[in-house]
């Protein structure tokens, strides 16, 4: 648990064409962030299932971050709304399981958003460290 206090485990859902290149660029430019951040890349942030988010939070992740496509999404102009609905649905399910809804966070991230990504990870890590542990 001490390890968790130091660096919370964060699962990031990124997208192949928009946010994943931005996260890659953070590495390319050696912009460091919490090494307990793990990324799953999907075609579109509107395709994240709330059950995946719960699976992560119930099995050891401290937080889930959605690097959303926002208005840049090449699939749907309603992408931000769809992704927002996924977050809201997940938060309802999280509350039912006594998981703090602050453990999920969403922000639009572009294909060159290297520094913003690192900043988001730092801020989210701080927030997660201040929360009560997820009930077993």
């Amino acid at each position: 648990m001490e390890q968790n206090k130091k660096s919370p485990k964060i699962l990031v859902f990124s997208t192949d064409k928009i946010s994943d290149p931005g996260i890659d660029q953070a590495g390319l430019r050696k912009i460091h962030y919490n090494p307990s951040v793990y990324v799953i890349s999907l075609p579109c942030s509107s395709g994240i299932k709330p059950k995946w988010i719960l699976h992560a939070l119930e099995n050891g992740f401290d937080g889930v971050f959605i690097a959303a496509d926002g208005h840049e999404c090449s699939f749907s102009s309603r992408c931000a709304d769809h992704t927002n609905t996924i977050v809201e649905t997940s938060q309802v399910l999280m509350k039912e399981r006594n998981i703090n809804p602050k453990r999920i966070r969403m922000a639009a991230l572009c294909s060159v958003c290297a520094e913003p990504f690192a900043n988001h990870m730092e801020n989210f890590s701080k927030i997660l460290m201040g929360l009560e542990e997820i009930p077993a």
């Binding site: 890659d24 307990s36 793990y38 799953i40 299932k49 992740f61």
Partner: protein
Amino acid sequence: MKEKIGVYICHCGGNISDYVKVEELSKMFHEEDNVVVSKDVMFACADSNQKEMIQDIQEFGLDSIVVCSCSPKLHLHTFKNVAERAGLNPSNYVQVNIREQCSWAHSDQPHEATVKAAGLIRAGINRVSYSESLEPIDISVKNTALVLGAGVAGMKAAIDLARSGTEVFIIEKDYFVGGRVAQKETLFPTETNAKQLVTSLYQEMKKYNNISLFAGASIEKVSGSLGNFNIDVKVKPRYLSPNANPQMVKQAMDECTVTSADPFNFGFKSRKAIYKNYPDAWPDVPVVIPELLENEIDYKEKFKTIFNFNEPEQILSLVAGSVLVTTGFNHYEPKEGEYGYKTIDNVITLPELNTLMELNPKQLVYNNKQVKSVAFIYCVGSRQTKGDNKYCSRQCCTSTIHTSLQLKEKYKDIQTYHLYRDIRTYGKQELMYEASSKQGDLYFKYEEKEMPVVEKVDNSTIVKVKDYLTAKMPLEIEADLVVLVTGMVPREDSAQISEFLKIPMGSDRFFNEIHPKLKPVETVIKGVYIGGACQGPKNISESVQSSMSGASKIVALLKRGTVSVDPIIARVDSDICTWCGKCAEVCDYTAIREIEVDDKRVAGVNKAVCTGCGICAPVCPVNAIEIAQYTDHEIESMIDGFLFEVDIKEGEVIQNDQHEEDESTGMKEYPQIWKEILAGIQERNTIPEIIQNTGINGDLVTYHLMTMNKYGIVSPDGMDAKEEYYYYKVKN
């Protein structure tokens, strides 16, 4: 579940292994039950390693492979090809990014980077365990393309498509071709006459009997998908008899006295009730405005043989394998009062000035007054940090400066003032900026926070500006004509076209490509491409480049008669689905519809239309939808993999400078490219000499030579005489 997995963990020279203990990891995963091969390799992408992977797949009968190296953006296709060459379905390959998202990102914490890499690799192994062999979806396609918009971009694309043997339908909303270019007189940088350019493209199109042009036509309905789009096109009548005598038509045009405002010439001219946009407009068939002739009884009687006032609208049903959208743009129209537009009589826009110049060949006259001074205000309707159009319209700076040069050349005694925010005459267009400065045009820089103000003082029009080039000095410029340099905006029918063809639009309301650099003319709709300024502001060269690129994509797509599309699409478990329709509601592409399977109403996915975005999956209340390669098993097993506890001792990290002495770099054999570079070094050579000796791409030589230097395989040996390049020699 896969039982014979091959895992390859890359050193990437030292890019990964300087921070991540790849050798330890490869040993650790070798002990997994379902992992048959686990190797650490110097360069996973090297030819020698690719051959070794193929041998392993065949020798050990591997059913899947995991390559742990750089970002999938770089080598996804390299390793998919390796799998295919070895006879393995490429869907049974997973790429794990342990460079950009691990060794480089966490080079400050090498131990944590190794722990993270272990989790990432474990997730990759878990994911590949659930991978399925997917086969590409073959769709038969009709070798016919529909080009929407017969501007310069559309016509050029149509010619290219026809030349390659594709049948082309080209649809133009206006009655005449040429789009915005036809409204211009002279084009930069070649000083080509715009109308002649349109004529030459039209004549070129007419040479191909596989091009059918429909002018005065627009899309009414679209159904179908890649390979077979069914498109209903409405063609408006011209109210001319098909057998009209051309001499009689000409006489009717000459004798017509009824006119109305002419939008083609921005209202500076009037047009007759039987008109062409300009004398050489194509097709060479005029259009009649019947409403204007309502009371012209005698005229109609005289020319009754040429008119057909009962001509109906026609609806044509066309089938096309692919669609190229080149619908162009609109000029931004300033709001009433914006810099005095429409409230002060001598404020006009740049396109209006261009038309005015064309209509006044000898002397520039506006409102019956000779124009001696012109003040241009740049960036009107573009770069609005608080408005809708946040983008730069790219071509307006050059267009304005070109106009300024023409003003001087055509009318001699005229002074121009340029009130700009930044001059963006990129590339060779910069030469025009230089010429304009040399001819005495005056430039004043303003900032968005202190915009110029146009005022009428007595009979004079005054432009007030704070010039940031001279310490914000307030200036007042009296101008005979104030010209607002307006940018490009999407056409008013963009939303409708987007609705018909399902092309996504950006927040700027231009059509969106998949990727600005890597897929710049492709849209997420299979078989639908975009070119020209419908995608965003472009000049003519750029528009033509993109439409030709779209045309070549279409030729490549259609010429084989069948197209293989990516099998990563949605699929519905019809046992679970109860058809509530929520998935169909969120699908922007109408790829999902209600079907019947074994007497049960369920959701069905049109494989040719589905983009695999996955938007339908989370909305299913019974979790009946999955996207191939992103199944619940695959994603949840990855999450479990990330959480995999590893027992890696925190030890010393191999420092860069230790490599020189370190014989055990894990390199059993140098990569092939290193061998070739070593063979290209005779005693000592500079990088350009090695490039010449080996014939290898310069960037590759530079990159690999640096790595070889780092590993003590070569070393620098002084500089050449010009002190430009180091000599390198092979280190003994």
